[in-house]
């Protein structure tokens, strides 16, 4: 089966005052259509930088990638038309109403005015925001805000949805709702979901396949079960232990200097 996202040697080096910093050193990856891919890694591993490259926000300094058949470097405009992206910070203005943000988003995707209004109503209905349409976005709860962010990203029925730590800061009930929403999206519309997360239970529960990055390269990939078996020692291993085994960020070794008491 063809991949909906494929990247080869995707890299990004930032030029800083203290010399070049290789945030992403070379990511190879393939994501199948309709897959929910969990993109994991320790802080600073290059998750967000990779995501920003795949969503056209940041130009790669090396390698190549295609998203839904469009070349990332050659035709970023075409990539933008088929992807949705929810950044960690969301991206709505607190002073603007839910309705206005949704309609404007539709217009940014070049929907005619009437169609944009209609689409805003549809999205509000699908994401349980109908009652909130005339509220300013600053008045929404964390979970409601997240649903709005996702609604915005679904405006144009994207082939691939990128989610950057979508459940950070949400209460358990809102997290569970969001997981259901993501599964429903994939099941009903076949949307490919590429999500980064710090929560291993989230990755375990939601992702069909995991890609674990460390220090700017892919350290391991596979289904949660396969990774547990290979790196954790058994299927019953926790994803936490597996993750630590892969990234080598476990407890400090025995011969480390003793902590002063």
């Amino acid at each position: 089966m063809t991949a909906v996202i494929s990247a080869a040697g995707l890299a990004r080096t930032f030029q800083t005052k203290r010399g070049p910093v290789e945030a992403v050193r070379g990511i190879d990856l393939r994501v199948r259509p309709g897959e929910i891919l969990g993109f994991l890694g320790p802080n600073g591993a290059g998750k967000t930088t990779t995501l920003r490259m795949l969503t056209t926000l940041l130009r790669p300094t090396g390698g190549a990638a295609t998203v839904a058949g469009h070349d990332l470097a050659g035709d970023p405009a075409a990539v933008r038309r088929v992807i949705g992206h929810v950044a960690q910070s969301g991206g709505v203005d607190g002073q603007i109403t839910v309705r206005e943000e949704l309609v404007t988003q539709g217009r940014l995707y070049r929907l005619p005015k009437d169609r944009a209004r209609e689409r805003a109503r549809e999205l509000a209905h699908d994401l349980d925001l109908t009652e909130l349409l005339d509220r300013r976005t600053a008045q929404l709860s964390g979970g409601q805000r997240r649903r709005l962010d996702i609604a915005m990203a679904l405006t144009h029925r994207p082939v691939v949805l990128f989610l950057d730590e979508p459940t950070t800061g949400l209460d358990p009930a809102s997290r569970a709702d969001l997981w259901d929403l993501i599964r429903r999206l994939r099941d009903r519309h076949g949307t490919t979901v590429f999500l980064t997360t710090h929560y291993l239970d989230e990755a375990d529960a939601l992702a069909d396949r995991l890609v674990i990055v460390d220090r700017g390269v892919v350290a391991a990939e596979g289904t949660p079960g396969a990774l547990k078996l290979q790196y954790g020692g058994s299927l019953d291993a926790s994803l936490q232990d597996t993750f630590l085994a892969i990234t080598g960020r476990g407890p400090s070794p025995a011969d480390a200097a003793p902590v002063a008491v």
Binding site: L58, R59, H85, G91, Q95, I96, Y109
Partner: protein
């Protein structure tokens, strides 16, 4: 598409301005204070210009309004960057140039509106100037704000924090104000100061608008003013567009 997108972004930010009517009026406050408490000091002084002291002062205050207002336009985008609004829009197919132009045209609208208020107040204080001259003055305010707001947004996209942005802007606006003869004409200045002030683009705009306010439309000052204003705006929009195209990249 550029037109469609620019209109869309313009509408979004114009509604934002209209929501904060207080800020809309507050922008006129500083030049208005100059008009009320500084303007009367000049009425009896030999300033060397033609016409009344108001015809000298008001053009300066109009451009001061544009200078201080538009230079700080970038603050808004620093806040929006924090909220992720700019990135969210940059993931859509929207024209990058429209993201800049829509904002800049909104700013021009707001500052011309404030300029109209200022001229009305000045008229009450005793300003008498020909209508075409007054309209030319508004056109210069529009050009100046387009130029400065573009540069301000470009800088704000680069520096990212208000702590860096504020001092940088202050360091540029204060000398521009003093060296362009905004408050008092540079014809009063010693030769070295007059020469120095010719290095500041704003100087040419001030001279042109002062000519317009006394009904002289075909002077060398006017020619240089138009050339400098148009060139400055074109350059600034080019710089701004470049930054908006590659921001983050």
């Amino acid at each position: 598409m550029l037109l469609h997108d620019t209109a869309l972004i313009y509408g979004r930010y114009l509604r934002q301005s209209l929501r904060s009517r207080f800020a809309l009026l507050f922008g006129v406050l500083m030049p208005l204070l100059y008009l009320l408490f500084f303007g009367p000091l000049l009425t009896g002084l030999p300033l060397g210009g033609r016409g009344s002291s108001w015809q000298l002062l008001v053009p300066g205050l109009l451009l001061q309004l544009g200078l201080f207002g538009a230079s700080f336009a970038g603050f808004a985008i620093i806040i929006e960057n924090g909220q992720g609004v700019v990135e969210r829009m940059r993931v859509t197919p929207v024209s990058r140039l429209a993201l800049l132009l829509g904002r800049v045209l909104r700013d021009a609208t707001v500052f011309v509106f404030q300029a109209v208020l200022l001229v009305l107040a000045a008229t009450a204080m005793g300003l008498r100037a020909p209508l075409p001259g007054v309209l030319i003055g508004f056109a210069f305010v529009a050009l100046l704000t387009v130029a400065l707001a573009s540069l301000s947004y470009a800088l704000a996209m680069r520096v990212r924090t208000p702590q860096e942005f504020g001092p940088a802007i202050n360091a540029l606006t204060m000398p521009s104000m003093l060296l362009s003869g905004l408050m008092l004409p540079m014809t009063l200045a010693p030769a070295w100061l007059d020469a120095l002030s010719h290095l500041v683009p704003l100087r040419y705009l001030v001279d042109a608008v002062r000519d317009a306010y006394v009904g002289s439309y075909t002077t060398a000052h006017m020619l240089y003013g138009v050339l400098v204003a148009v060139a400055f705006a074109a350059l600034a929009v080019t710089v701004g567009t470049r930054v908006f195209r590659t921001a983050g990249a």
